[in-house]
Protein backbone atom coordinates (compact mmCIF):
# COMPACT_ATOMS: atom_id res chain seq x y z
CA UNK A 1 0.00 0.00 0.00
CA UNK A 2 2.76 2.40 0.97
CA UNK A 3 4.67 1.43 -2.16
CA UNK A 4 1.62 2.16 -4.28
CA UNK A 5 1.18 5.59 -2.70
CA UNK A 6 4.84 6.28 -3.29
CA UNK A 7 4.53 5.32 -6.96
CA UNK A 8 1.45 7.48 -7.42
CA UNK A 9 3.30 10.42 -5.96
CA UNK A 10 6.21 9.84 -8.34
CA UNK A 11 3.76 9.80 -11.21
CA UNK A 12 2.31 13.17 -10.27
CA UNK A 13 5.77 14.64 -9.74
CA UNK A 14 6.96 13.56 -13.20
CA UNK A 15 3.79 14.85 -14.85
CA UNK A 16 4.10 18.16 -13.04
CA UNK A 17 7.73 18.57 -14.06
CA UNK A 18 6.76 18.08 -17.69
CA UNK A 19 3.81 20.43 -17.32
CA UNK A 20 6.18 23.10 -16.01
CA UNK A 21 8.56 22.49 -18.93
CA UNK A 22 5.75 22.83 -21.45
CA UNK A 23 4.51 26.01 -19.82
CA UNK A 24 7.96 27.56 -19.43
CA UNK A 25 7.76 29.45 -22.76
CA UNK A 26 4.41 30.91 -21.70
CA UNK A 27 5.93 32.21 -18.48
CA UNK A 28 8.84 33.80 -20.31
CA UNK A 29 6.61 35.40 -22.94
CA UNK A 30 4.23 36.73 -20.30
CA UNK A 31 6.85 38.24 -17.99
CA UNK A 32 8.89 39.67 -20.86
CA UNK A 33 5.81 41.27 -22.37
CA UNK A 34 4.97 42.89 -19.04
CA UNK A 35 8.39 44.45 -18.50
CA UNK A 36 9.40 47.91 -19.60
CA UNK A 37 12.06 48.34 -22.22
CA UNK A 38 14.45 49.71 -19.60
CA UNK A 39 14.13 46.61 -17.45
CA UNK A 40 14.87 44.15 -20.24
CA UNK A 41 18.12 42.54 -19.30
CA UNK A 42 19.59 39.39 -20.78
CA UNK A 43 20.88 38.30 -17.39
CA UNK A 44 17.47 38.57 -15.72
CA UNK A 45 15.25 37.01 -18.30
CA UNK A 46 13.58 34.71 -15.80
CA UNK A 47 12.98 37.40 -13.21
CA UNK A 48 9.51 38.54 -12.28
CA UNK A 49 8.91 42.13 -13.52
CA UNK A 50 9.69 44.69 -10.83
CA UNK A 51 6.96 46.93 -12.10
CA UNK A 52 4.21 45.74 -14.36
CA UNK A 53 3.90 47.78 -17.49
CA UNK A 54 1.68 47.58 -20.52
CA UNK A 55 4.08 49.67 -22.58
CA UNK A 56 5.51 46.65 -24.43
CA UNK A 57 2.06 45.42 -25.34
CA UNK A 58 1.14 48.94 -26.40
CA UNK A 59 4.21 49.25 -28.60
CA UNK A 60 3.52 45.85 -30.15
CA UNK A 61 -0.10 46.73 -30.80
CA UNK A 62 0.91 49.98 -32.47
CA UNK A 63 2.97 47.97 -34.95
CA UNK A 64 0.79 44.94 -35.48
CA UNK A 65 -2.73 46.14 -34.76
CA UNK A 66 -3.65 46.61 -38.43
CA UNK A 67 -2.24 43.17 -39.26
CA UNK A 68 -4.25 41.68 -36.43
CA UNK A 69 -7.41 43.11 -37.98
CA UNK A 70 -6.32 41.75 -41.38
CA UNK A 71 -6.10 38.31 -39.81
CA UNK A 72 -9.66 38.66 -38.55
CA UNK A 73 -10.95 39.77 -41.97
CA UNK A 74 -9.13 36.79 -43.44
CA UNK A 75 -9.91 34.08 -40.90
CA UNK A 76 -13.59 34.67 -40.19
CA UNK A 77 -14.92 34.44 -43.75
CA UNK A 78 -12.45 31.73 -44.79
CA UNK A 79 -13.42 29.60 -41.80
CA UNK A 80 -17.14 29.97 -42.43
CA UNK A 81 -16.92 29.27 -46.16
CA UNK A 82 -14.64 26.28 -45.85
CA UNK A 83 -16.75 24.76 -43.06
CA UNK A 84 -19.89 25.05 -45.19
CA UNK A 85 -18.17 23.44 -48.16
CA UNK A 86 -16.89 20.69 -45.90
CA UNK A 87 -20.39 20.01 -44.57
CA UNK A 88 -21.86 19.70 -48.08
CA UNK A 89 -19.06 17.44 -49.27
CA UNK A 90 -19.06 15.34 -46.12
CA UNK A 91 -22.81 14.80 -46.40
CA UNK A 92 -22.52 13.76 -50.05
CA UNK A 93 -19.65 11.37 -49.35
CA UNK A 94 -21.03 9.72 -46.22
CA UNK A 95 -24.77 9.45 -46.71
CA UNK A 96 -25.05 9.06 -50.47
CA UNK A 97 -22.29 6.66 -51.34
CA UNK A 98 -22.17 5.93 -55.02
CA UNK A 99 -19.81 3.98 -57.18
CA UNK A 100 -16.57 5.91 -57.22
CA UNK A 101 -17.29 7.95 -54.12
CA UNK A 102 -14.32 6.49 -52.34
CA UNK A 103 -12.11 7.40 -55.28
CA UNK A 104 -13.41 10.96 -55.09
CA UNK A 105 -12.73 10.99 -51.36
CA UNK A 106 -9.16 9.88 -52.04
CA UNK A 107 -8.68 12.57 -54.70
CA UNK A 108 -9.93 15.21 -52.26
CA UNK A 109 -7.91 13.93 -49.29
CA UNK A 110 -4.58 13.84 -51.07
CA UNK A 111 -4.76 17.62 -51.31
CA UNK A 112 -4.21 17.70 -47.56
CA UNK A 113 -0.74 16.22 -47.74
CA UNK A 114 0.86 18.25 -50.51
CA UNK A 115 3.68 20.62 -49.65
CA UNK A 116 2.20 23.94 -50.75
CA UNK A 117 5.46 24.98 -52.34
CA UNK A 118 4.47 22.61 -55.14
CA UNK A 119 1.56 24.87 -56.11
CA UNK A 120 2.85 28.27 -55.11
CA UNK A 121 4.14 29.54 -58.47
CA UNK A 122 0.83 28.84 -60.28
CA UNK A 123 -1.20 30.16 -57.32
CA UNK A 124 0.48 33.55 -57.57
CA UNK A 125 0.09 33.64 -61.35
CA UNK A 126 -3.61 32.80 -61.17
CA UNK A 127 -4.26 35.33 -58.40
CA UNK A 128 -2.54 37.94 -60.55
CA UNK A 129 -4.75 36.94 -63.44
CA UNK A 130 -7.83 37.24 -61.20
CA UNK A 131 -6.49 40.59 -59.96
CA UNK A 132 -6.55 39.23 -56.42
CA UNK A 133 -2.78 39.24 -55.89
CA UNK A 134 -1.60 40.91 -52.74
CA UNK A 135 -5.10 41.11 -51.28
CA UNK A 136 -7.00 39.51 -48.43
CA UNK A 137 -9.75 38.14 -50.74
CA UNK A 138 -6.99 36.39 -52.67
CA UNK A 139 -5.71 34.86 -49.45
CA UNK A 140 -9.26 33.86 -48.46
CA UNK A 141 -9.66 32.06 -51.78
CA UNK A 142 -6.41 30.15 -51.33
CA UNK A 143 -7.18 29.14 -47.75
CA UNK A 144 -10.69 28.03 -48.66
CA UNK A 145 -9.55 25.88 -51.59
CA UNK A 146 -6.72 24.19 -49.71
CA UNK A 147 -9.01 23.79 -46.69
CA UNK A 148 -11.49 21.65 -48.63
CA UNK A 149 -9.72 18.32 -47.91
CA UNK A 150 -9.59 18.68 -44.14
CA UNK A 151 -13.11 20.09 -43.71
CA UNK A 152 -14.51 17.39 -46.01
CA UNK A 153 -12.71 14.76 -43.93
CA UNK A 154 -13.94 16.17 -40.63
CA UNK A 155 -17.56 16.31 -41.76
CA UNK A 156 -17.50 12.96 -43.54
CA UNK A 157 -16.26 11.23 -40.41
CA UNK A 158 -18.76 13.20 -38.35
CA UNK A 159 -21.72 12.26 -40.57
CA UNK A 160 -20.75 8.60 -40.64
CA UNK A 161 -21.76 8.68 -36.97
CA UNK A 162 -25.36 9.68 -37.81
CA UNK A 163 -27.29 6.41 -38.00
CA UNK A 164 -28.37 5.43 -41.46
CA UNK A 165 -31.87 4.61 -40.19
CA UNK A 166 -32.51 8.32 -39.77
CA UNK A 167 -31.76 8.91 -43.43
CA UNK A 168 -33.98 5.98 -44.39
CA UNK A 169 -36.75 7.37 -42.22
CA UNK A 170 -36.44 10.67 -44.06
CA UNK A 171 -36.69 8.89 -47.39
CA UNK A 172 -39.85 7.08 -46.28
CA UNK A 173 -41.31 10.46 -45.37
CA UNK A 174 -40.65 11.43 -48.96
CA UNK A 175 -37.75 13.78 -48.34
CA UNK A 176 -35.05 13.97 -51.00
CA UNK A 177 -31.37 14.82 -50.87
CA UNK A 178 -31.77 18.43 -49.75
CA UNK A 179 -34.81 17.81 -47.59
CA UNK A 180 -32.93 15.23 -45.57
CA UNK A 181 -29.94 17.54 -45.32
CA UNK A 182 -31.99 20.47 -44.07
CA UNK A 183 -34.40 18.70 -41.78
CA UNK A 184 -32.37 15.79 -40.41
CA UNK A 185 -28.64 16.25 -40.93
CA UNK A 186 -28.12 19.97 -40.48
CA UNK A 187 -29.85 20.15 -37.07
CA UNK A 188 -27.46 17.45 -35.84
CA UNK A 189 -24.38 19.18 -37.23
CA UNK A 190 -23.68 21.75 -34.54
CA UNK A 191 -20.70 20.00 -33.00
CA UNK A 192 -19.37 19.09 -36.45
CA UNK A 193 -19.35 22.79 -37.28
CA UNK A 194 -17.64 23.59 -34.00
CA UNK A 195 -14.89 21.05 -34.67
CA UNK A 196 -14.34 22.08 -38.30
CA UNK A 197 -14.69 25.77 -37.48
CA UNK A 198 -12.18 25.72 -34.64
CA UNK A 199 -9.74 23.68 -36.66
CA UNK A 200 -9.92 25.97 -39.66
CA UNK A 201 -9.83 29.10 -37.53
CA UNK A 202 -6.61 27.90 -35.90
CA UNK A 203 -5.00 26.73 -39.14
CA UNK A 204 -5.84 29.82 -41.17
CA UNK A 205 -4.95 32.24 -38.38
CA UNK A 206 -1.61 30.51 -37.89
CA UNK A 207 -0.79 29.99 -41.56
CA UNK A 208 2.39 31.68 -42.66
CA UNK A 209 3.45 30.35 -46.07
CA UNK A 210 0.40 31.53 -48.03
CA UNK A 211 0.26 34.74 -46.02
CA UNK A 212 3.83 35.73 -46.81
CA UNK A 213 3.61 34.61 -50.44
CA UNK A 214 0.24 36.05 -51.37
CA UNK A 215 -0.12 39.36 -49.51
CA UNK A 216 1.81 42.60 -49.70
CA UNK A 217 2.34 45.16 -46.91
CA UNK A 218 -0.91 46.86 -46.03
CA UNK A 219 -2.79 43.56 -46.30
CA UNK A 220 -0.47 41.21 -44.45
CA UNK A 221 -1.90 39.10 -41.64
CA UNK A 222 -0.50 38.96 -38.14
CA UNK A 223 1.87 36.00 -38.65
CA UNK A 224 3.81 37.97 -41.25
CA UNK A 225 3.90 41.00 -38.98
CA UNK A 226 5.35 38.93 -36.13
CA UNK A 227 8.18 37.73 -38.35
CA UNK A 228 8.84 41.24 -39.61
CA UNK A 229 8.99 42.61 -36.08
CA UNK A 230 11.25 39.76 -34.93
CA UNK A 231 13.48 40.17 -37.96
CA UNK A 232 14.15 43.85 -37.48
CA UNK A 233 17.26 44.52 -35.43
CA UNK A 234 15.88 47.67 -33.87
CA UNK A 235 12.95 46.09 -32.07
CA UNK A 236 13.51 45.12 -28.45
CA UNK A 237 12.82 41.64 -27.08
CA UNK A 238 9.96 42.80 -24.93
CA UNK A 239 8.10 44.07 -28.00
CA UNK A 240 8.90 40.92 -29.94
CA UNK A 241 7.51 38.75 -27.16
CA UNK A 242 4.47 40.99 -26.80
CA UNK A 243 3.77 40.66 -30.52
CA UNK A 244 4.15 36.87 -30.42
CA UNK A 245 1.77 36.84 -27.48
CA UNK A 246 -0.81 38.94 -29.27
CA UNK A 247 -0.61 36.86 -32.41
CA UNK A 248 -1.19 33.72 -30.34
CA UNK A 249 -3.95 34.98 -28.08
CA UNK A 250 -7.02 34.41 -30.30
CA UNK A 251 -6.23 30.77 -31.03
CA UNK A 252 -5.13 30.19 -27.43
CA UNK A 253 -8.35 31.61 -26.05
CA UNK A 254 -10.35 29.38 -28.38
CA UNK A 255 -8.23 26.43 -27.25
CA UNK A 256 -8.71 27.17 -23.57
CA UNK A 257 -12.49 27.33 -23.87
CA UNK A 258 -13.11 24.75 -26.60
CA UNK A 259 -10.00 22.55 -26.38
CA UNK A 260 -12.05 19.36 -26.50
CA UNK A 261 -13.26 20.22 -29.99
CA UNK A 262 -9.80 21.27 -31.09
CA UNK A 263 -8.44 17.86 -30.13
CA UNK A 264 -11.27 16.20 -32.04
CA UNK A 265 -10.26 18.13 -35.14
CA UNK A 266 -6.66 17.18 -34.51
CA UNK A 267 -7.53 13.49 -34.39
CA UNK A 268 -9.91 13.72 -37.34
CA UNK A 269 -7.18 15.32 -39.38
CA UNK A 270 -4.88 12.39 -38.80
CA UNK A 271 -6.95 10.03 -41.01
CA UNK A 272 -6.32 7.18 -38.66
CA UNK A 273 -6.57 3.66 -39.96
Amino acid sequence: MAERRFRRMGLYIVLSVFAVLYLMPVYVVAVTSLKTEASINLAHMWAWPQTFSLSSLGAAWAQLGPNFMNSIYLTVPATIISSLIGAMNGYALSKWRFRGSNTIFFIILLGMFIPYQAVLIPVLRVLEWLRLDGTIPGLILVNVVYGIPITTLIFRNFYVGIPHEMIEAGKIDGAGYWGIFRRIVLPLSASGFVVAGIWQFTQIWNNFLFAVAVTTPPHQPVTVAVVNIAGSQTVQWNVQMASALMASLPTLVVYIFLGKYFVRGLLAGSVKG
Partner: protein, 326 residues
Protein backbone atom coordinates in the same frame (compact mmCIF):
# COMPACT_ATOMS: atom_id res chain seq x y z
CA UNK B 1 -21.88 -7.68 -55.98
CA UNK B 2 -24.36 -10.58 -55.69
CA UNK B 3 -25.99 -11.56 -58.94
CA UNK B 4 -29.69 -12.37 -58.94
CA UNK B 5 -30.49 -15.91 -60.03
CA UNK B 6 -32.24 -15.67 -63.40
CA UNK B 7 -35.74 -17.07 -63.65
CA UNK B 8 -37.31 -16.44 -60.29
CA UNK B 9 -35.86 -12.97 -59.83
CA UNK B 10 -38.23 -11.02 -61.99
CA UNK B 11 -40.39 -9.16 -59.47
CA UNK B 12 -37.37 -8.54 -57.31
CA UNK B 13 -35.56 -6.99 -60.19
CA UNK B 14 -38.36 -4.54 -60.87
CA UNK B 15 -38.32 -3.40 -57.27
CA UNK B 16 -34.58 -3.06 -57.43
CA UNK B 17 -34.80 -1.05 -60.62
CA UNK B 18 -37.34 1.46 -59.32
CA UNK B 19 -35.50 1.77 -56.06
CA UNK B 20 -32.30 2.37 -57.95
CA UNK B 21 -33.90 5.09 -60.03
CA UNK B 22 -35.17 7.11 -57.07
CA UNK B 23 -31.82 6.63 -55.38
CA UNK B 24 -29.85 7.64 -58.40
CA UNK B 25 -31.52 11.05 -58.68
CA UNK B 26 -30.41 11.81 -55.14
CA UNK B 27 -27.05 10.31 -55.89
CA UNK B 28 -26.75 12.71 -58.76
CA UNK B 29 -27.33 15.53 -56.30
CA UNK B 30 -24.39 14.19 -54.31
CA UNK B 31 -22.23 14.17 -57.41
CA UNK B 32 -23.34 17.69 -58.35
CA UNK B 33 -22.49 18.95 -54.86
CA UNK B 34 -19.00 17.50 -55.15
CA UNK B 35 -18.27 18.88 -58.61
CA UNK B 36 -17.26 22.44 -57.60
CA UNK B 37 -14.82 21.09 -55.00
CA UNK B 38 -13.42 18.58 -57.45
CA UNK B 39 -12.98 21.30 -60.04
CA UNK B 40 -11.29 23.61 -57.53
CA UNK B 41 -8.93 20.90 -56.32
CA UNK B 42 -8.45 19.59 -59.84
CA UNK B 43 -7.10 22.99 -60.79
CA UNK B 44 -5.46 24.18 -57.57
CA UNK B 45 -3.90 20.88 -56.54
CA UNK B 46 -3.48 18.55 -59.49
CA UNK B 47 -3.33 21.11 -62.28
CA UNK B 48 -0.94 23.34 -60.38
CA UNK B 49 1.38 20.47 -59.51
CA UNK B 50 1.60 19.58 -63.19
CA UNK B 51 2.15 23.25 -63.99
CA UNK B 52 4.97 23.44 -61.43
CA UNK B 53 6.44 20.25 -62.85
CA UNK B 54 6.35 21.81 -66.30
CA UNK B 55 8.01 25.02 -65.09
CA UNK B 56 10.78 22.90 -63.57
CA UNK B 57 11.60 21.62 -67.05
CA UNK B 58 11.94 25.05 -68.65
CA UNK B 59 14.54 27.79 -68.76
CA UNK B 60 12.49 30.22 -66.63
CA UNK B 61 15.34 31.37 -64.41
CA UNK B 62 14.84 35.11 -64.50
CA UNK B 63 12.08 37.54 -63.72
CA UNK B 64 10.61 37.20 -67.22
CA UNK B 65 8.79 33.91 -67.92
CA UNK B 66 10.62 31.74 -70.40
CA UNK B 67 9.13 28.39 -71.35
CA UNK B 68 11.97 27.16 -73.48
CA UNK B 69 12.51 23.43 -72.85
CA UNK B 70 15.42 22.64 -70.55
CA UNK B 71 14.86 18.98 -69.75
CA UNK B 72 16.27 17.92 -66.39
CA UNK B 73 19.01 20.52 -66.41
CA UNK B 74 17.50 22.46 -63.50
CA UNK B 75 17.37 19.34 -61.36
CA UNK B 76 21.02 18.63 -62.04
CA UNK B 77 21.92 22.22 -61.28
CA UNK B 78 19.96 22.20 -58.02
CA UNK B 79 21.55 18.96 -56.84
CA UNK B 80 24.98 20.43 -57.45
CA UNK B 81 24.47 23.43 -55.20
CA UNK B 82 25.94 23.57 -51.73
CA UNK B 83 22.61 24.83 -50.46
CA UNK B 84 20.50 21.94 -51.72
CA UNK B 85 23.00 19.34 -50.56
CA UNK B 86 22.82 20.98 -47.14
CA UNK B 87 19.01 20.84 -47.35
CA UNK B 88 19.05 17.08 -47.93
CA UNK B 89 21.23 16.56 -44.86
CA UNK B 90 19.12 18.94 -42.80
CA UNK B 91 15.74 17.50 -43.69
CA UNK B 92 16.92 13.98 -42.86
CA UNK B 93 18.45 15.02 -39.54
CA UNK B 94 15.48 17.17 -38.62
CA UNK B 95 12.91 14.53 -39.55
CA UNK B 96 14.66 11.86 -37.46
CA UNK B 97 15.12 14.11 -34.40
CA UNK B 98 11.64 15.55 -34.68
CA UNK B 99 9.76 12.29 -35.17
CA UNK B 100 11.76 10.38 -32.60
CA UNK B 101 11.38 13.21 -30.08
CA UNK B 102 7.63 13.50 -30.61
CA UNK B 103 7.00 9.76 -30.48
CA UNK B 104 9.14 9.11 -27.41
CA UNK B 105 7.79 12.05 -25.45
CA UNK B 106 4.24 11.55 -26.69
CA UNK B 107 4.20 7.87 -25.76
CA UNK B 108 5.78 8.52 -22.37
CA UNK B 109 3.25 11.23 -21.50
CA UNK B 110 0.34 9.19 -22.84
CA UNK B 111 1.27 6.21 -20.66
CA UNK B 112 1.51 8.45 -17.59
CA UNK B 113 -1.81 10.11 -18.33
CA UNK B 114 -3.46 6.73 -18.90
CA UNK B 115 -2.88 5.71 -15.25
CA UNK B 116 -6.35 6.94 -14.20
CA UNK B 117 -4.91 10.11 -12.75
CA UNK B 118 -6.62 13.10 -11.25
CA UNK B 119 -6.70 16.37 -13.26
CA UNK B 120 -6.26 14.30 -16.39
CA UNK B 121 -7.82 16.84 -18.71
CA UNK B 122 -5.69 19.63 -17.25
CA UNK B 123 -2.46 17.73 -17.96
CA UNK B 124 -3.67 16.74 -21.40
CA UNK B 125 -4.53 20.35 -22.22
CA UNK B 126 -1.10 21.54 -21.13
CA UNK B 127 0.71 19.05 -23.33
CA UNK B 128 -1.43 19.81 -26.38
CA UNK B 129 -1.74 23.59 -26.14
CA UNK B 130 1.40 24.40 -28.20
CA UNK B 131 -0.41 22.93 -31.21
CA UNK B 132 -2.82 25.87 -31.08
CA UNK B 133 0.03 28.36 -31.57
CA UNK B 134 1.50 29.25 -34.94
CA UNK B 135 4.90 27.87 -35.89
CA UNK B 136 5.97 31.46 -36.42
CA UNK B 137 5.24 32.48 -32.83
CA UNK B 138 6.98 29.30 -31.64
CA UNK B 139 10.03 30.24 -33.66
CA UNK B 140 10.18 33.76 -32.23
CA UNK B 141 9.66 32.56 -28.66
CA UNK B 142 12.24 29.77 -28.82
CA UNK B 143 14.82 31.99 -30.47
CA UNK B 144 14.58 34.03 -27.27
CA UNK B 145 14.60 31.01 -24.96
CA UNK B 146 17.55 29.42 -26.76
CA UNK B 147 19.44 32.65 -27.31
CA UNK B 148 22.96 31.64 -26.20
CA UNK B 149 23.33 34.73 -24.00
CA UNK B 150 20.18 34.24 -21.99
CA UNK B 151 17.19 31.95 -21.52
CA UNK B 152 17.91 28.28 -21.00
CA UNK B 153 21.63 28.97 -20.85
CA UNK B 154 21.17 31.08 -17.71
CA UNK B 155 19.78 27.98 -16.04
CA UNK B 156 22.60 25.80 -17.36
CA UNK B 157 25.17 28.32 -16.13
CA UNK B 158 23.63 28.43 -12.69
CA UNK B 159 23.91 24.63 -12.66
CA UNK B 160 27.63 25.01 -13.32
CA UNK B 161 27.86 24.61 -17.10
CA UNK B 162 30.62 27.04 -18.05
CA UNK B 163 30.37 26.39 -21.80
CA UNK B 164 26.65 26.21 -22.52
CA UNK B 165 25.64 25.33 -26.09
CA UNK B 166 25.33 27.94 -28.81
CA UNK B 167 21.98 26.33 -29.77
CA UNK B 168 20.66 27.51 -33.12
CA UNK B 169 23.69 29.71 -33.71
CA UNK B 170 26.07 26.77 -33.45
CA UNK B 171 28.11 25.88 -36.54
CA UNK B 172 29.38 22.59 -35.14
CA UNK B 173 28.72 19.26 -36.84
CA UNK B 174 28.73 15.95 -34.99
CA UNK B 175 30.49 14.03 -36.42
CA UNK B 176 32.33 16.25 -38.84
CA UNK B 177 32.55 14.36 -42.14
CA UNK B 178 33.01 15.91 -45.55
CA UNK B 179 30.76 14.39 -48.19
CA UNK B 180 30.50 16.13 -51.55
CA UNK B 181 30.44 19.85 -50.88
CA UNK B 182 29.00 19.61 -47.39
CA UNK B 183 29.62 18.43 -43.86
CA UNK B 184 27.56 15.28 -43.43
CA UNK B 185 27.18 15.19 -39.64
CA UNK B 186 24.37 16.44 -37.45
CA UNK B 187 24.38 20.25 -37.35
CA UNK B 188 23.92 21.12 -33.67
CA UNK B 189 21.89 24.16 -34.68
CA UNK B 190 19.21 21.79 -35.91
CA UNK B 191 18.96 20.21 -32.48
CA UNK B 192 17.77 23.57 -31.18
CA UNK B 193 15.19 23.85 -33.95
CA UNK B 194 14.04 20.30 -33.24
CA UNK B 195 13.52 21.10 -29.56
CA UNK B 196 11.13 23.89 -30.51
CA UNK B 197 9.36 21.65 -33.04
CA UNK B 198 9.00 18.79 -30.54
CA UNK B 199 7.59 21.21 -27.96
CA UNK B 200 4.99 22.20 -30.50
CA UNK B 201 3.99 18.81 -31.90
CA UNK B 202 4.61 16.17 -29.22
CA UNK B 203 1.10 16.76 -27.88
CA UNK B 204 -0.21 15.44 -31.16
CA UNK B 205 1.67 12.15 -30.73
CA UNK B 206 0.45 12.02 -27.14
CA UNK B 207 -3.18 12.42 -28.24
CA UNK B 208 -2.81 9.69 -30.87
CA UNK B 209 -1.17 7.30 -28.39
CA UNK B 210 -3.70 8.05 -25.70
CA UNK B 211 -6.45 7.09 -28.15
CA UNK B 212 -4.55 3.90 -28.97
CA UNK B 213 -4.04 3.01 -25.30
CA UNK B 214 -7.70 3.52 -24.50
CA UNK B 215 -8.65 1.17 -27.33
CA UNK B 216 -6.73 -1.76 -25.80
CA UNK B 217 -9.18 -4.00 -23.98
CA UNK B 218 -8.72 -4.01 -20.22
CA UNK B 219 -8.95 -7.83 -20.11
CA UNK B 220 -5.84 -8.10 -22.22
CA UNK B 221 -3.76 -6.16 -19.72
CA UNK B 222 -5.41 -8.03 -16.86
CA UNK B 223 -4.59 -11.41 -18.39
CA UNK B 224 -0.95 -10.47 -18.76
CA UNK B 225 -0.82 -9.17 -15.21
CA UNK B 226 -2.26 -12.44 -13.90
CA UNK B 227 0.41 -14.30 -15.87
CA UNK B 228 2.89 -12.42 -13.71
CA UNK B 229 4.25 -9.97 -16.27
CA UNK B 230 5.88 -6.94 -14.67
CA UNK B 231 4.88 -3.47 -15.81
CA UNK B 232 7.92 -3.14 -18.06
CA UNK B 233 7.37 -6.47 -19.82
CA UNK B 234 3.63 -5.91 -19.92
CA UNK B 235 4.24 -2.68 -21.77
CA UNK B 236 6.71 -3.91 -24.38
CA UNK B 237 5.20 -7.33 -25.10
CA UNK B 238 1.47 -6.60 -24.81
CA UNK B 239 0.73 -2.90 -25.04
CA UNK B 240 3.29 -1.50 -27.45
CA UNK B 241 2.51 -3.99 -30.26
CA UNK B 242 -1.14 -2.98 -29.93
CA UNK B 243 -0.12 0.60 -30.65
CA UNK B 244 1.30 -0.21 -34.06
CA UNK B 245 -1.40 1.57 -36.05
CA UNK B 246 -1.16 4.62 -33.76
CA UNK B 247 2.57 4.70 -34.38
CA UNK B 248 2.14 4.46 -38.14
CA UNK B 249 -0.43 7.25 -38.17
CA UNK B 250 1.75 9.49 -36.03
CA UNK B 251 4.84 8.82 -38.14
CA UNK B 252 3.03 9.63 -41.39
CA UNK B 253 1.47 12.85 -40.12
CA UNK B 254 4.68 13.99 -38.44
CA UNK B 255 6.69 13.19 -41.57
CA UNK B 256 4.35 15.39 -43.56
CA UNK B 257 4.74 18.15 -40.98
CA UNK B 258 8.50 17.77 -41.04
CA UNK B 259 8.75 17.95 -44.81
CA UNK B 260 6.54 21.05 -44.78
CA UNK B 261 8.36 22.83 -41.94
CA UNK B 262 8.72 26.45 -43.02
CA UNK B 263 7.39 29.12 -40.66
CA UNK B 264 9.39 27.77 -37.72
CA UNK B 265 12.67 27.96 -39.61
CA UNK B 266 11.79 31.27 -41.22
CA UNK B 267 11.05 32.88 -37.85
CA UNK B 268 13.68 31.17 -35.71
CA UNK B 269 16.89 30.95 -37.71
CA UNK B 270 16.38 31.48 -41.43
CA UNK B 271 18.80 29.48 -43.59
CA UNK B 272 21.45 29.81 -40.86
CA UNK B 273 25.15 30.27 -41.28
CA UNK B 274 26.39 28.06 -44.16
CA UNK B 275 22.82 26.78 -44.46
CA UNK B 276 23.08 24.76 -41.24
CA UNK B 277 19.34 25.14 -40.65
CA UNK B 278 18.09 25.58 -44.19
CA UNK B 279 15.24 23.40 -45.49
CA UNK B 280 14.03 22.57 -49.01
CA UNK B 281 10.84 24.56 -48.40
CA UNK B 282 12.78 27.68 -47.48
CA UNK B 283 15.24 27.17 -50.31
CA UNK B 284 12.37 26.88 -52.79
CA UNK B 285 10.71 30.03 -51.46
CA UNK B 286 13.84 32.17 -51.56
CA UNK B 287 15.15 30.76 -54.84
CA UNK B 288 11.82 31.40 -56.54
CA UNK B 289 10.50 34.62 -55.08
CA UNK B 290 13.63 36.41 -53.97
CA UNK B 291 16.08 35.05 -56.53
CA UNK B 292 13.60 34.84 -59.44
CA UNK B 293 15.03 31.41 -60.34
CA UNK B 294 11.55 30.09 -61.05
CA UNK B 295 12.57 26.88 -62.80
CA UNK B 296 15.06 25.95 -60.07
CA UNK B 297 12.45 26.67 -57.42
CA UNK B 298 9.89 24.59 -59.30
CA UNK B 299 12.40 21.71 -59.44
CA UNK B 300 12.80 21.77 -55.65
CA UNK B 301 9.01 22.01 -55.23
CA UNK B 302 8.46 19.04 -57.54
CA UNK B 303 10.97 16.96 -55.59
CA UNK B 304 9.17 17.86 -52.35
CA UNK B 305 5.88 16.78 -53.86
CA UNK B 306 7.28 13.46 -55.11
CA UNK B 307 8.69 12.60 -51.68
CA UNK B 308 5.38 13.44 -50.07
CA UNK B 309 3.43 11.44 -52.65
CA UNK B 310 5.68 8.42 -52.13
CA UNK B 311 4.56 7.93 -48.55
CA UNK B 312 1.16 9.62 -48.35
CA UNK B 313 -0.49 7.86 -51.31
CA UNK B 314 0.17 4.29 -50.05
CA UNK B 315 -0.88 5.37 -46.57
CA UNK B 316 -4.16 6.92 -47.71
CA UNK B 317 -4.94 3.93 -49.91
CA UNK B 318 -4.47 1.44 -47.07
CA UNK B 319 -6.53 3.57 -44.68
CA UNK B 320 -9.40 3.88 -47.14
CA UNK B 321 -9.26 0.19 -48.04
CA UNK B 322 -9.34 -0.84 -44.41
CA UNK B 323 -12.33 1.41 -43.89
CA UNK B 324 -14.17 -0.08 -46.84
CA UNK B 325 -13.66 -3.57 -45.44
CA UNK B 326 -15.00 -2.54 -42.07
Amino acid sequence: MKRAVPGNARPKRIIAATKKRTLSWDNWSAVLVLIPSLLALGIFVYGFIVWTGYVSLTNWNSYIPNFQWAGFRNYLAVFQTFRFQSDIRNIIVFTVLFIFGCLALGLFLAVLIDQKIRWESLFRSIFIFPMAISFVATGVIWSWLLNPQTGVNLILQSLGDTHPPQWFLSTVFVPSLSVGLIQAGIPLALVAVSIAAVWQMSGFAMAIYLGGLRAIPEEMKEAARIDGAGPWRLFWTIIFPQLKSSTITAVIILSAASLKVFGLIYAMTGPGQDFTTDMPTLNMFQTTFQGSQFADGAAIATLLFLIMAAFSIPYLLTVLRKEEEA
